[in-house]
């Protein structure tokens, strides 16, 4: 070899070394920064991306989210991992440093993540494998819970998906609320009404029973009453069986047993309903009997029963100082009083309706909405004296004879609010009656239809009341 040939050979060798070094650096840059530039193997030159679709594919490959997370067993080497992923036409997107052997793997075939994870799981080298689930803000805040009750789909007030011409979302957000709590049988809610059919299959497990350590009720006139499950103020005895249906309907809205594969669910899947009967088979009663029934509730509270709410789906335009005074006593005993605003389509600020209009700190007056978030045609309103609105038109609930019926009225709206109050109490047992009232009336979805109609301007939102939204 002459000198010139030698120098040429040296130069060529240097150039080859430099080219190889440069190529290696390019690969590292590509891997680290996911650039579009890649060294194209010679055999692929004929297949270089020339169309927009092919460019998009290359971009997608380099910018894709890994489909599966795979934990390889201790002792499995990095080269083995890469060999395995290459066989599946996958690549290791990232290694999780804090968990040795945990790899985020990108499936270049874009196959189903569940199937890909299953394929890895079948390998002896793999400890576990799972899809890389997408987490949304909604998931972080709540996990909507759906009850198994077969007629839940008819309960638009709890979950409105637009059924029967309704508006999707025009409901009390019950499913999101239930991710926090579905109620508690430590909470007692008094249904002051025509009584309750306590034998109804969807109510019987949620009816309050007087605990053994609570003494029997003593009435000045009637003496000792063997009150096992509530009180009848009409006959002054212990049987609050509903002969009308109204009270049973309201009770079902509050607490028809949830998740029992029967009928419907109440706002509370689990709760203790205390039946109080002061309205007769005709559905009406006297002020005096209403007072006696409230008196019973206060007495039970003072004897240790955890009564947190009275649901009062009744009223008239007659004002009674005596009734107001006993509601004040209930307030002093820490009991919320939720009352129907009335169905005369009138302004309660001009034409008062009682007991909803009493200016007592524990009273919440409730107007009714239809399934399109409009004030129900029959509902009273009042920018000052009506606090909040809730679903109250075409409401399915429990009825006499182990049946179910659809009814309308501010009577129906009231127990939704009372039920939400019970959910709050179940979640926060120590909440005071003042805080409870405030939480209820401030946990609303503001609606244009309720502007200047109710004080809160909105529809009760159970999820907001529980901090789930």
């Amino acid at each position: 070899m002459n000198r010139n040939n030698f120098l040429i050979h040296i130069a060529l060798a240097v150039v080859l070394v430099l080219v190889a070094a440069f190529a290696g650096q390019l690969r590292r840059w590509q891997k680290e920064y996911k650039t579009r530039v890649r060294i194209i193997p010679a055999e692929e030159k004929t297949r270089r991306a020339t169309t927009t679709a092919e460019v998009s594919e290359i971009e997608a490959r380099t910018l894709t989210v890994p489909e599966v997370l795979v934990k390889f067993k201790p002792g499995v080497s990095e080269s083995t991992i890469r060999s395995i992923t290459a066989k599946f036409n996958d690549r290791v997107e990232d290694s999780i440093e804090s968990v040795r052997g945990l790899e985020a793997i990108d499936d270049l075939d874009n196959a189903d993540a569940v199937q890909t994870a299953a394929a890895y799981l079948a390998l002896p080298e793999v400890e576990y494998a799972e899809p890389n689930y997408e987490i949304s803000i909604e998931d972080l805040e709540s996990n909507p819970v759906r009850p198994s009750d077969p007629r839940f789909t008819d309960q638009w007030a709890l979950a409105n998906d637009g059924q029967r011409g309704g508006t999707q979302g025009a409901d009390i957000s019950a499913m999101a609320a239930w991710s926090v709590t579905t109620g508690d049988d430590d909470i007692v809610i008094a249904v002051l009404d025509s009584g309750v059919d306590y034998t109804h299959s969807d109510l019987q497990n949620n009816i309050w029973q007087r605990p053994a350590n609570v003494p029997k009720y003593v009435d000045d006139a009637a003496g000792t009453i063997q009150d096992l499950q509530g009180y009848n103020a009409i006959t002054n005895d212990a049987d609050p069986m509903d002969e009308n249906g109204h009270g049973t309907h309201c009770a079902g809205i509050i607490g028809a047993e949830g998740g029992n594969d029967i009928g419907i669910t109440g706002v509370n899947w689990k709760v203790r309903i205390m039946p109080l009967k002061f309205m007769n088979a005709g559905g009406f009663g006297t002020t005096k009997d209403a007072i006696e029934a409230i008196n019973y509730v206060i007495d039970r509270k003072n004897k240790g029963v955890n009564v947190r709410v009275i649901s009062a789906s009744w009223g008239s335009t007659n004002r009674s100082q005596a009734l107001e005074d006993v509601i004040k006593k209930a307030y002093e005993a820490g009991i919320l009083f939720v009352a129907a605003a009335g169905n005369a389509s009138t302004d309660n600020d001009r034409r008062p309706h009682y007991p909803s209009n009493y200016d007592v700190g524990n009273v919440i007056s409730v107007a009714a909405l239809d399934r399109n978030d409009q004030l129900a045609s029959f509902s009273n309103w009042g920018a000052k004296h009506v606090a909040i609105a809730a679903p109250g038109a075409e409401i399915l609930s429990t009825w006499l004879g182990d049946e179910y019926e659809e009814k309308s009225g501010t009577s129906m709206a009231t127990p939704f609010v009372a039920g939400v109050a019970a959910l709050i109490a179940a979640n926060e047992p120590r909440i005071s009656v003042d805080e409870l009232r405030k939480r209820v009336v401030t946990s609303v979805d503001k609606l244009d239809s309720l502007k200047s109609k109710v004080a809160s301007g909105g529809r009760i939102n159970a999820a907001k009341a529980l901090g789930a939204q």
Binding site: N244, N280, G283, G409
Partner: protein, 116 residues
């Protein structure tokens, strides 16, 4: 109601009024309610029942369980209640009764409502 003749020759009549609950044991059909209403109006006006003519009987919704015709000191369930609006005519005037299977009421008679 109990009637007895006293020593002075005068009759003593004792009336016992049942509770609201006792009055509501009957279940009314439309015809029952119409019949009761005609009978009631005839007595109130002091006329013969055949002089009370049926104006109209229509099925309708009332705003509450007292059929929108609550009496003094009466509280009613705030639930839309289906019933019958019965219009009767007597002495050249029209009178309105309201009824459902549980009750019959006279609406706005001389400014007041009455549960029959």
């Amino acid at each position: 109601m109990l009637a007895a003749r006293g020593n002075n020759g005068r009759w003593l009549v004792v009336c016992s009024f049942g509770s609201l609950s006792n009055n509501q044991n009957m279940s009314y059909s439309k015809e029952d309610a119409l019949s009761k209403a005609r009978n009631d109006l005839a007595k109130r006006l002091g006329v013969k029942e055949q002089d009370v003519r049926e104006g109209s009987v229509e099925e309708t919704d009332f705003p509450d369980t007292s059929l929108g015709a609550g009496s003094d000191d009466e509280m009613s369930g705030q639930m839309i209640t289906r019933g019958w609006r019965i219009k009767l005519q007597a002495n050249n005037r029209t009178y309105e009764y309201r009824a459902d299977r549980n009750q019959v009421r006279l609406y706005d008679f001389k400014g007041k409502n009455f549960l029959l």
